[in-house]
Symmetry: C2
Subunit: 466 residues, 2 copies
């Protein structure tokens, strides 16, 4: 039995007139009065289905084939033929149609062949990968992930895993999920009436990590070039299209690298990813062009060849100030950018990706390197159309005395960062890194507006089904 | 400035007599009475260091070079030369030595050049990647991870991410970590005096996932071939060398695949990984041969070319019964294997990897497919030397009626598996998958005995430092 994937047939890898077996699901069925039926079969290997022609002389034609409905599973053996139809090169003339699984009550099948909104599909997240939309997202997501691993690996980076459960808080900000095995009915308290976490699994209070960066720094200052690619968590109660409680992040960290070095790396990485997706996912991208956003291919092609704009935060403020009436709040040096500012810069003003550099220290994390002006830190955000911030990074403060000043300014206890400070005591080096929001990247590539569509099973406030 | 990595020099990618700059850390320093010093410099790009010869005519020779100690960071420019020494091909004749970071109090530097036990190194997990041991683990871990992604991607699998935070319990067994944002001082209770999780972030009780399998099945029954590679969690209070509370798992899931299909895939995957590691990590493997386990290379070479033993559980029991006096407890059909049984089969009896098939249903999970004998399930475990079980998998029960019988037998509420049962109601297909413990794989490849050495920052009971 020569089992092949639909993508192999579509991509002309199977010789015409050869006998093959395909395994998949029925997208739809049309019956001709001339004594045969057309089945379109998908197996998820690509966006396209393959048409199968079933003659009524097959023994189970009347008893089974004519009863097939959307999503029935089948194993079909037949001969590959050139197709006379315009929109397909090949079709299969069936020799045998083996129905493997039926659909109970086809009339109530949750994702029938008709149009469904993305909002509705979230309610059937276990079945939505069967749609062309979520299937395309899965394949593009895969290619983006693989291209990230390849990009870094080819350049001598090592993928490392940083802890998911942690006792420390990277940002000094952002709400965290608590991880615990304490029984709510047997909580012990200490003399101050505080919960006694010494009874908990880890012997102290533990949380889900918001970033692997600090741990990544320990590895970068030992083996030079590393990156993480793993899940991170935010317990913010914000129900927006741009936030997930659980998402995946890529965080490279590079020893001896300065801010300008990692800006080069970030831009190169994005262009590599976009080239790979254009090269490997054109069919899936075309699905998005035809159904969601006609610009997704053209903007990827444009971006992969242009230099991104680089601009100082201070200069970005001047631009925004000139167009202050566009925004909800007044513009002044020192403010943090909100999504509307970011999108104005990249969508309206420059119309290409923008890298904003050297933000005021007061709106950035303690670990970012203080610039000579003592007011700004060596930080950067990459802003892109539709998404706003897709990457945030910085040169890290490698000077122990300066780091301690910053910890002090921000009322963070030095004792909580003992091991992190050690990295500066023993052979410290300049080093830099950034974080890429994986789902934002997938959203940008596909043009989808809501992150809930670009992750298989989204986690948001009050939403943990599936 | 032509910055190169140590590995580029070692691998003969840089032309002799060219001027290069290296960036790294001092492994050690020896001073010759002839008026120069030898520095060995590592940058983590490979297991080897590069020797740098520094002449006393450098301006900072006395003021800086002679003060260098282990772990000081340096940027050195010099000329690549063929080395007259036996154990190295190349060395660098320094033109400039720029000391970037000193080591405070070298006498108390936690990982001085002397020998340290692995137990001690765990106490300085933030600095241990600077050792040859943990550096080698990181590089091998990286190559194994990359080879897994490549193996599956090349064969048409799509990497998917399954939720880390979940409301369901895949195994129906195994203790789980609770994930919550509830404030311990403001717990609301319902009429039955139970905690009211409707106030919690997700509106119900939530946990850290023990496996992505069930979610993976939703994607396999839509796009045919998928795999996860992500972290999973066990809140078992077991402080052994073979357990971690947080570890990484690879879980492929394949539509239309039977038990024997995935046995082939599992064996092929392991052999691919071992070939890749032998091809790409020989220097690092030699480090383990010389320092930990002289067999690690020879056993990988042997295994990549042999057929693994396949044996029925029932036959494995017969073998163990014959040697019953080796074991703590009596052997009889129906028992679950413990580590001593698994290791006896693979290490003592067959002396190669063993795949045990068709375990009794009563010791396996509800989702495994019932065999015709009604007593066993279509399951398999791959057992390997030193590690015992490294892979566990099964054909999944795709027949809704049989699945419901199993749920019933095991007193699991059908309502809790509504969406999982849906996959069987709508175009069900035979499908199979397995889980690979990533850290056990790294332990096998390196020959390290304790999983705490093969993950950057181990999480075990009462241990969440770093």
């Amino acid at each position: 039995m020569n089992v092949v994937s639909v993508v192999d047939i579509i991509q002309n890898k199977i010789i015409v007139n050869s006998k093959v077996t395909i395994q998949g699901w029925v997208r739809n069925r049309r019956d001709s009065k001339a004594g045969f039926s057309f089945l379109t079969i998908y197996d998820g290997s690509c966006n396209k289905s393959i048409q199968v022609i079933v003659n009524n002389n097959l023994s189970n034609y009347k008893t089974e084939v004519l009863l097939l409905t959307t999503a029935c599973s089948v194993i079909i053996t037949g001969i590959i033929k050139n197709s006379p139809f315009q929109n397909q090169n090949f079709e299969i003339k069936a020799i045998k149609v083996n129905v493997v699984g039926w659909v109970k009550n086809p009339d109530t099948y949750p994702i029938s062949a008709k149009y469904h909104t993305v909002e509705y599909l979230r309610e059937v997240a276990h079945l939505r990968p069967r749609t062309s939309l979520i299937g395309a997202v899965a394949r593009i997501r895969h290619v983006i992930a693989q291209s990230i691993h390849r990009f870094f690996s080819d350049q001598g980076y090592f993928w490392i895993t940083t802890p998911i459960i942690t006792a420390s808080d990277t940002e000094g900000a952002g709400e965290m999920f608590r991880v615990s095995t304490l029984n709510y009915n047997e909580l012990y308290r200490n003399g101050k009436n505080e919960i006694d976490f010494s009874k908990d699994f880890f012997g102290r209070e533990a949380f889900l990590s918001v970033s692997g960066q600090l741990n990544c720094e320990a590895y970068a200052t030992a083996i030079s070039k590393v990156y993480t690619f793993g899940p991170v968590f935010r317990a913010e109660n914000s129900n927006t299209s741009r936030h997930l409680a659980e998402f995946w992040m890529i965080e490279p960290e590079v020893a001896f690298a300065t801010l300008s070095d990692i800006i080069v790396i970030a831009e190169k990485m994005l262009k590599y990813i976009f080239s790979e997706v254009l090269h490997k996912c054109l069919d899936d991208l075309n699905f998005f062009v035809n159904n969601f956003n006609k610009n997704v291919i053209s903007r990827l092609e444009k971006i992969k060849d242009i230099d991104f704009i680089q601009i100082e935060y201070t200069d970005a403020i001047k631009i925004l100030k000139k167009h202050e009436n566009f925004f909800k709040k007044p513009i002044s040096w020192g403010i943090d950018f909100s999504s509307e500012h970011e999108r104005y810069l990249t969508e309206c003003y420059f119309k290409i990706p923008v890298i904003v550099k050297n933000y005021p220290k007061d709106i950035k994390a303690f670990y970012m390197r203080i610039n000579k002006d003592k007011k700004t830190v060596a930080s950067m955000d990459v802003l892109m159309q539709d998404i706003g911030e897709i990457i945030g990074g910085s040169q890290r403060e490698e000077r122990l005395d300066m780091l301690d000043i910053r910890l002090n300014e921000m009322n963070i206890k030095k004792e909580n960062y003992k091991w992190y400070r050690d990295l500066r005591s023993y052979g410290t080096v300049p080093h830099s890194g950034f974080g890429v929001g994986f789902e934002r990247l997938v959203a940008y590539v596909t043009g989808l507006k809501n992150l809930r569509e670009v992750i298989p099973f989204p986690r948001t406030p009050k939403n943990i089904d599936f």
